[in-house]
């Protein structure tokens, strides 16, 4: 029983991370019908900025004196940086292609994904970059399973982020404008909503969440790598599709499910093949129920 509980805890932690990344995919697809291939790399960049910030603070002795502050600073810097990165990405690779064929957009996104991951390799090297071993220890016992402090932090942190997103999207003017643009871009323009600004906002929010996920992964697994965005990126996209592309709640649920499936399948079935399960789910969902669990939410006026 405690194995089951342990797996659940691990699955929820991983799921929370996937959910954060999946939100970025689903929001961008919802508003401009593009699979942002480079989103995984933004997640990786977040992880890098986190470790760069934390090592800097550690070397300067700041981290010892104010660990919590340092941690939050790392998150903030990562999210801030990735927002910039995402805006640049959109301006350079996606905006000029608005209205072009899907293939062109996809290839542009793919090109940027390759460019970013290799760019990070050139800047930071091919080896893993280790996170400072500051926050990793400690945890407590729940019914025979152990839940570490880090796991609690990740779960609570992602919940806070997701709730904030929810409030933003459902209760604020800008958030509703984003949803409006995703549902009917032309009509939103007629109402005075500037599509460009809304789209940029979407990218910024998605990137911030992915950045946070990147820092969390770095803290949780202890290190980051330039190519760490590739496979989690695909899995997070699978999660977004599973939940219903364009649907925010769907992305959150999908992320959780993919995380749980991965941990359980690795634990009870075959751990070498754990990456395969997310792909299989993706293929099954797209074949049998392409609208996902919660249903698609996209501007379908575009052919």
């Amino acid at each position: 029983m405690d194995v089951f509980l342990q797996q659940t805890i691990n699955g929820l932690t991983l799921g929370a991370i996937y959910a954060l990344i999946a939100l970025g995919y689903t929001m961008v697809y919802g508003i401009i019908q593009l699979i942002n291939f480079a989103h995984g790399e933004i997640f990786a960049a977040g992880g890098y900025i986190g470790v760069i910030a934390l090592s800097f603070l550690q070397a300067r002795g700041v981290l010892e004196r104010h660990p919590i502050l340092g941690l939050f600073l790392a998150f903030f810097l990562a999210m801030f940086y990735c927002a910039f990165l995402a805006v640049a990405l959109e301006r350079v690779a996606y905006k000029p292609l608005r209205g072009a064929s899907r293939l062109a957009l996809l290839l542009s996104a793919l090109g940027m994904s390759i460019f970013f991951s290799n760019g990070m390799m050139l800047c930071q090297g091919v080896y893993d970059k280790a996170y400072p071993h500051f926050f990793t220890s400690g945890g407590f016992n729940i019914g025979g399973a152990i839940i570490t402090n880090m796991q609690v932090f990740i779960m609570v942190g992602s919940v806070i982020l997701m709730v904030t997103l929810n409030i933003f999207v459902n209760r604020t003017r800008l958030g509703k404008a984003m949803r409006a643009t995703a549902q009917d871009r032309t009509m939103s323009a007629i109402l005075g909503i500037n599509a460009d600004k809304t789209i940029v906002t979407t990218f910024v929010i998605g990137a911030s969440l992915a950045a946070a996920a990147g820092v969390m992964v770095g803290l949780y697994y202890g290190s980051v790598r330039f190519d760490m965005g590739f496979i989690p990126g695909i899995k997070a996209f699978a999660a977004a599709v599973l939940g219903g592309i364009g649907n925010l709640t769907g992305a959150m649920i999908g992320g959780m499910m993919i995380g749980m499936v991965e941990i359980f399948a690795a634990g009870y079935l075959a751990s070498e093949y754990k990456d395969v399960f997310a792909f299989i789910i993706l293929i099954l969902v797209l074949y049998f129920r392409p609208t996902g669990i919660m249903g698609v939410q996209v501007d379908d006026t575009r052919v």
Partner: protein
């Protein structure tokens, strides 16, 4: 007039902001040399471009590069015949290194042509193409090492298995919409790689399969005792070069015929507008599957050859990056254009060899180039010339969405 320099300065500021944390922070210190180097290169490059534009007064670099053709005029026939001669005599005038490079180029040409059928002709976004290459390679590898089957017998078997793989993967996925198809094919490609890496019993896992025999031919020889057949293993690079050359030429011929055939036109119709194609009586699902399977077969053949040449296969040759590379070749060279693909394959293999020191920058450059091409010249380096009787001259198959009213 003042806009360009202003834009450039904004660009430099952005570059600085984005590069600073990645390049200039090391533990507790700020290290400026790498960042300044990169900023210097960017600034210098940008100034060069702007100076060129100013000097050319109206014929900007962009328009010169992308609307014109080659910078010099050579009669077509001379170019073609020179090319043919070079290709034919290559093994006799170069060393092993060059031959190896040439063989690699030809392999990628074959792959590019195969993917071109899927992506360029039929418009299916396949990001997992390398999986079929792997299937072909491993089929020959295993048939040869486990059962001693020689190359020429294994080749048709490999084709069959590749076709089977194409059917199995293609059937469920081809119903999906464009971008989803891309992700799913990527997923399949990864699944195959992971399986190859982990199914130790059959595929030897990450260790790979060793001891594959090269293709062999029998030739009549006079030996002691009279007339008999001797076996020659084509381990020699020269033999291999001609073999892959023949394979590549067959692929080229096949693609060329397909381009102008009814099937080819059906594929193009599906690519342009699937619903319309369905309405004119084209069995879109069947056609898409056929394109997919055909592409798989070409990749399988190339894969079998690859296994025979290198005589060792392991999963790391078949990573997603390879799929992306082949896609780059097709897209950068010009979708559906055979000379474009040849040029693309040559560029992607030869350029990094020439600039050995810059090898690390290779993939980053290709990624950037792919985006760059999509934004500025989606038709590729050498655009395909399709017959489009109902519209005007020129073919920019990727631009069909532009210029429409915002609606």
């Amino acid at each position: 007039m003042m806009k360009k320099p202003l834009k450039f300065i904004v660009f430099l500021i952005w570059a600085f902001i984005l590069l600073f944390p990645m390049l200039a922070v090391n533990e507790g210190q700020f290290v400026w040399d790498r960042l300044l180097k990169v900023m210097g290169v960017l600034a210098f490059g940008g100034i060069l471009v702007m100076a060129y534009n100013a000097a050319m007064k109206g014929r900007s670099l962009k328009s010169a590069m992308f609307k014109g053709g080659l910078p010099f005029k050579v009669p077509k026939k001379v170019m073609i015949w020179t090319g043919i001669v070079i290709v034919l005599i290559l093994p006799w005038v170069t060393d092993n290194y060059a031959k190896d490079v040439a063989i690699n180029v030809l392999i990628y040409i074959a792959l590019g042509l195969g993917l071109n059928i899927v992506v360029g002709l039929a418009g299916l976004l396949d990001l997992g193409y390398i999986a079929f290459y792997a299937v072909g390679a491993y089929t020959y590898a295993l048939l040869n090492t486990q059962y001693g089957i020689p190359f020429w017998v294994a080749l048709p078997m490999g084709c069959l298995i590749s076709a089977l793989a194409g059917t199995v993967i293609g059937y469920p996925t081809l119903k999906m919409r464009g971008d989803y198809l891309a992700i799913v094919t990527l997923g399949f490609g990864e699944i195959i790689r992971i399986v190859l890496n982990n199914w130790d019993k059959v595929t030897q896992g990450p260790n790979g399969v060793l001891g594959i025999k090269a293709p062999s031919i029998y030739y009549p020889a006079i030996g002691d005792g009279g007339f008999q057949f001797a076996q020659l293993y084509m381990k020699n690079l020269t033999w291999l070069y001609y073999l892959i050359l023949v394979l590549a030429l067959i692929t080229m011929a096949a693609v060329n015929r397909l381009n102008y055939s009814r099937i080819g036109r059906a594929w193009m119709a599906v690519r342009e507008d699937e619903t319309a194609a369905e309405l004119t009586g084209i069995h879109t699902t069947r056609m898409k599957l056929f394109a997919y399977i055909l592409g798989a077969i070409f990749a399988g053949v190339a894969g079998a050859f690859f296994a025979a040449k290198v005589r060792y296969v392991n999963p790391s040759s078949f990573v997603f990056l390879e799929s992306a590379l082949v896609l780059c070749i097709v897209v950068l060279g010009g979708m559906g254009s055979i000379p474009g693909i040849v040029l693309g394959a040559a560029a992607i293999i030869v350029l990094p060899e020439m600039f050995r020191g810059l090898e690390l920058y290779r993939m980053a450059a290709f990624g950037g180039a792919m985006t760059f091409m999509m934004v500025f010249r989606p038709e590729g380096l050498i655009p395909a010339k399709h017959k489009r009787p109902e519209t005007d001259v020129g073919d920019v198959p990727l631009e069909e969405g532009r210029g429409r009213a915002e609606s």
